[in-house]
Subunit: 197 residues, 4 copies
Amino acid sequence: MEEQGLQYLAEAREATGLKIVTEVMDAASVELVAAYADILQIGARNMQNFHLLKAVGRCGKPVLLKRGIAATIAEWLHAAEYILNEGNYNVILCERGIRTFEEYTRNTLDLSAVGAIKHLSHLPVIVDPSHGTGKWRLVRPMAMAAVAAGADGLLIEVHPNPAEALSDGPQSLNPANFAALMEDVRELAAFLRRHSA
Amino acid sequence: MEEQGLQYLAEAREATGLKIVTEVMDAASVELVAAYADILQIGARNMQNFHLLKAVGRCGKPVLLKRGIAATIAEWLHAAEYILNEGNYNVILCERGIRTFEEYTRNTLDLSAVGAIKHLSHLPVIVDPSHGTGKWRLVRPMAMAAVAAGADGLLIEVHPNPAEALSDGPQSLNPANFAALMEDVRELAAFLRRHSA
Amino acid sequence: MEEQGLQYLAEAREATGLKIVTEVMDAASVELVAAYADILQIGARNMQNFHLLKAVGRCGKPVLLKRGIAATIAEWLHAAEYILNEGNYNVILCERGIRTFEEYTRNTLDLSAVGAIKHLSHLPVIVDPSHGTGKWRLVRPMAMAAVAAGADGLLIEVHPNPAEALSDGPQSLNPANFAALMEDVRELAAFLRRHSA
Amino acid sequence: MEEQGLQYLAEAREATGLKIVTEVMDAASVELVAAYADILQIGARNMQNFHLLKAVGRCGKPVLLKRGIAATIAEWLHAAEYILNEGNYNVILCERGIRTFEEYTRNTLDLSAVGAIKHLSHLPVIVDPSHGTGKWRLVRPMAMAAVAAGADGLLIEVHPNPAEALSDGPQSLNPANFAALMEDVRELAAFLRRHSA
């Protein structure tokens, strides 16, 4: 939907007070997307699109950098360096699953990456259990696990009626399940702050 | 060390009150090991050793079945069926990491398998973050994450002096870190019981 | 080097009579690259860059589409559809290795993809044993194997002095080894034409 | 079928003059199988069954060691060492595919392993394109490719009527296709001897 889609998102922000995170697909669109979005997302397929990484490094907005489905943790951090090197230190990493032989889940969500990133860098890392598993029943346990592993945030798909969603329905939570999960996540995070090693 | 090793384990049980879990490597040894151990472990390399699976299915002791490093969740459950089919329903599954392209961790610990097993079967599932990551620094976050994902237990390597361990030192906790983790795991488990979905 | 690099390539074509294949990295550069190159290459990292695929679909030049390191054969063929759908039927597929757990080779060159592509589509498929293995000693056997598997061509790195190459030296053939290989490949191809099933 | 099955195989050898290769599943059966078979096969699932490896190392018969589906080339050679260390130098390695994310083929047949083994060891290496691909249409191209890559032999499934096979039908050649392939393989091998680098 190009710019009109961005305007709709801006209206939604106005109406709800929510921040907007949206994906930018190529270097040529960075300026336009940065004019509307609060955070620019680099998708897993673009994790090594170095033109794009440099462009968001100069855009003045925070960047959410998703891990490529076949990217090692080291490659992911190298990709982040392209953004940091342009002077943009507001980089958030997002683990969203890697491709393995397992077929039950869409990807294999690698929660050990959370602890690895915490050890190897100072960057915040969030987790996307929806894309990472492809199954809504696994979103709750993996969201709780991600927080317990030390994740700084979650990216979760929600749909008012997952059964009728045009895309990603099977991995989306309905609003009631999402609200219940968020309440438990908040309490878990508070529990963990009281028990930090 | 063969039978003498089992006798040492039995003495350790006598002295400490701890239960003994030990690995059985082939069908011919099942009777001997079952005479000493409380739980017989099937290692990842033997997950599809069908002779051995049938033999432990007839041994009368609980069995801890580790997931093969290249086994799908479906194959793992099929392996468990070989034990169940012999009438031994005391099977505990243990997720211990799968082999992927990632090189930072020894294996990729697949915590989504915990929720998958809970959905697909009635069997208890535990998690081994020591073998699953190969790095002691990742043991604590992944142990906490495993419990938050719904795991029924943990298998953690401890060594009085990891730096001098003959094997698996880099993935072993020292007793102080282990004790601190166990205390937090217990409180996390209690927290989760109060917040079950 | 941007456009100057393309001019150097054009001069090399003038001097040698060789055709030029060069990579295009984003949709914005397609027109410029198409003005110089005989064949536009889409690199493995851009295999699912759909803007770029559509742009080369409209460029009027043949396209060499490399397989992504984590792309299934089905996904690779779907990527080719984006180019074909724009009316450009001159698409050449290039197998260059997939990412697996194996560490001896840089990638695992999947020669079964050659036969699979021949069965599933009408597109020509070539093989890159240099990137596919990362080791010059494996280039000859895998080049011969690729031709025997039915590949329509090879993409091989050559350097006058591999030990001093700025990049990709360990996987490059020197000119003497390359010439010897080419002679044998030609004879093997002739042999295979006489023995087609 | 235990020993009766071995007797049937011995009768088939008597009647046909063909050598017998058959799999041995555990150390306890090695003596019995060695009494009948010409070559003992260690299956992919037992590649790291060290009791069994040692036992066949002492059996006095050649051993065919299949690569594990998640075994690196280095681990495969280490497994062979267990047999060699017992004084049995007649070890044949067999590449039969590794597990990857690809779904079109049952496994990914890693022909680069042939050249790697030739470089790293003195052991003969053969290739199994039937299990390696799981699809009979890919058996011919991958058999030819294996020979071109330098393989010392092939392991190919044949069934008089693949459509009615109790197991492995989809990957089995019928006798006519097998005979045609063998003729071409023989001529290809002769061609390659005339063109060895």
